[in-house]
Amino acid sequence: MSLVGADRFKSRAAAALADANLKLAIDRTTRTARAKREAAVADWPGFSKARDLGRRIKDHVIENLDHYLVEFERNAVASGAIVHYAASAGEACEIVIRICREADAQTITRSKSMLGEEIGLPHALDAAGLTRIETDLAEHIVQLSNDRPSHIIWPALHHTREDIAALFREHHHTPQNSDDVAGMVASARRQLRAGFLGADVGISGANFLIADSGAICTVTNEGNAELTTTIPRVHIVTAGIEKLVPSLTHAFILLRLLVRSATGADITQYTTFHCGPKRTGDRDGPEAFHIVLVDNGRTRMLAEGLGEMLRCLRCGACMNHCVVYNEIGGHAYGGVYPGPMGAVLTPVLDGLEKSRDLAHACTLNGRCQEVCPVDIPLPAMLRGWRDKSWAQGLEPNTQRGMIGLWAFAAARPDLYRFGTRLAMRAVRLFANGGWIEKLPLAAGWTRYRDFPKPAARTFFEQYQAQKRRPNA
């Protein structure tokens, strides 16, 4: 998407940091998410063993992706599904829109899917003149407010309940008369029920593609996926090829990890396996069942050493625990996927040149990998993007010049020691007590926090002094 731009990341981040309401909204959700995940993990003695098993299952699938893709296709076709392949986001949207047109569809219900967001499907449906109804409560909020998701599990996390109450009062036929969350949820239920019943096509994503049956799995807490996929004449699934698992049992093993990491529950209220269209005698279900299998950079990731990222279950734990995400929120990242996993994926989807700042907007504290249910080495992958950005000459000249200067000095110990000695003494002149409130060339730091006053002598000077003292 064109929203990504190196200079624009900094301005978006600055705008987000200045938005106190946003900070409040992010904090209300991620604080709960962290506490619930921690409790769920503490409650399950087998978690670390299961996490290791989950990682190996995903690696096994990725190592044999062609095998499982062919097996899935064979079984899906046998169940009556029509399987499509899309190399790019654009191709995937074209296929979906063609199916909608062939079905003479007017109204389309959609159940939240990150792959759908990734390929820009909501926008493509609107541009094709189709009536799109987002049925996930958060996506409904995002649709009404005409903005973008800011989290992969809670897309409307950037809205406070006060914002949402006002939004529903403006748009709903019979809005809630109080600002409590239950009233708002009831209002959305009333509003969306007619949409569910009148839709021609339902579109969902898939959390898993089950190779040995050809079924696809959706998980929701609201029940909107089932209403989206059972009532309309046509069900279209869009899914990334990395969602394959060998069998139902493997899906269950990963589900335990996914749900606990995402919301802290042990299972979602609704976990549904969809296998083909309506069968003889069935009283409900879609007449046609299409599965669009999407590459969109995934085979390139495999070829370029980013295969570990294909393990990702899209649980959102990495962003809930990320100090940067918690300060700036999802929109500042500019891509579809925010947070640590987004900083790794966005350069694949949008190009490194436009998104190289994301890999730098990371403290490398390692928390994301610790909470990742499939142990993706996110910090190492972010460092990999920094290396690539340097090697491809994408870092700005001033930065290259400064680092060149540092490298020149670092290779000459006497010059380096002289320089650091001088710098420390100069910096100490700005101190007031133990802290420095304002420092030339470091306004970016001191605007938000004081800089500690350096010690009187450099580490090397202290080290030399210690060495000279015989019994120290």
Binding site: D66, H67, A138, E222, N224, D282
Partner: protein
């Protein structure tokens, strides 16, 4: 099908070695079996007790449970539920032959489901004690929407069909062809989309009631 061929070719270029499908299947099977070592332990070896306790715990949203000795006692249990919740004795009954044979006198029964039903009564195929989950397979005798459109969802489950873990369900149905829909239902519909606060009755039922038979 050129997009398909391109995708497979790109994968095979990135994964240069050939592997025997039998080896792949053996590795997958070994991985599946390993879950025995890590799956959550049940608090009670009696599966009906464990399932019932789980349903009414704070881990499951909006669920309640009742127990009866025989399937014939189910209508009386449904009547009790209606009384507790102040509901008219009007319900949609799953077109399951065994349920249809029961004595539903005093109830107004509807066979098909509309967009805004109050109460549906259905028989679940399996239950899973680990998570407090009820499992439905879609079929002419078990429409999917029965579990999603009503406000109150009453699920009847035979004690003998309560399994311990999710994997046990996969094993129990291993040799059977996959139905169109498998619905694993755990409690009432809910959402945490507004500030992470959990609210029940988002789009699906706001109440789930299990009746364990036997």
């Amino acid at each position: 099908m050129s997009a398909r061929e391109d995708m497979l070719a790109a994968i095979r270029r990135a994964l240069p070695r050939e592997r025997d499908p039998q080896d792949i299947a053996a590795t997958a099977e070994a991985l599946a079996l390993e879950s025995i070592e890590s799956r959550p332990r049940l608090p009670n070896s009696d599966l009906a007790e464990a399932f019932a306790a789980r349903l009414v715990s704070d881990k499951v949203v909006g669920a309640s449970v009742d127990r009866v000795a025989r399937l014939e006692d189910a209508p009386a249990a449904v009547r009790r539920y209606c009384a507790v919740h102040g509901l008219d004795p009007t319900l949609v009954l799953q077109p399951d032959p065994d349920l249809q044979k029961l004595n539903w006198s005093g109830f107004t029964i509807s066979a098909s489901i509309g967009g805004d039903e109050t109460l549906a009564v259905a028989r679940a195929r399996w239950a899973i004690a680990e998570t407090g989950t009820l499992v439905f397979h879609s079929s002419p005798e078990s429409p999917t929407l029965l579990s999603f459109l009503p406000l109150h969802h009453i699920c009847i489950i035979d004690r003998a069909k309560i399994l311990a873990h999710l994997e046990d369900y996969a094993n129990a149905e291993r040799s059977a062809p996959a139905p169109r829909n498998v619905n694993l239902i755990t409690g009432a519909s809910g959402t945490a989309d507004i500030e992470g606060a959990l609210v029940r009755g988002a789009h699906g039922p706001a109440f789930l009631h299990a009746i364990i038979v036997g």
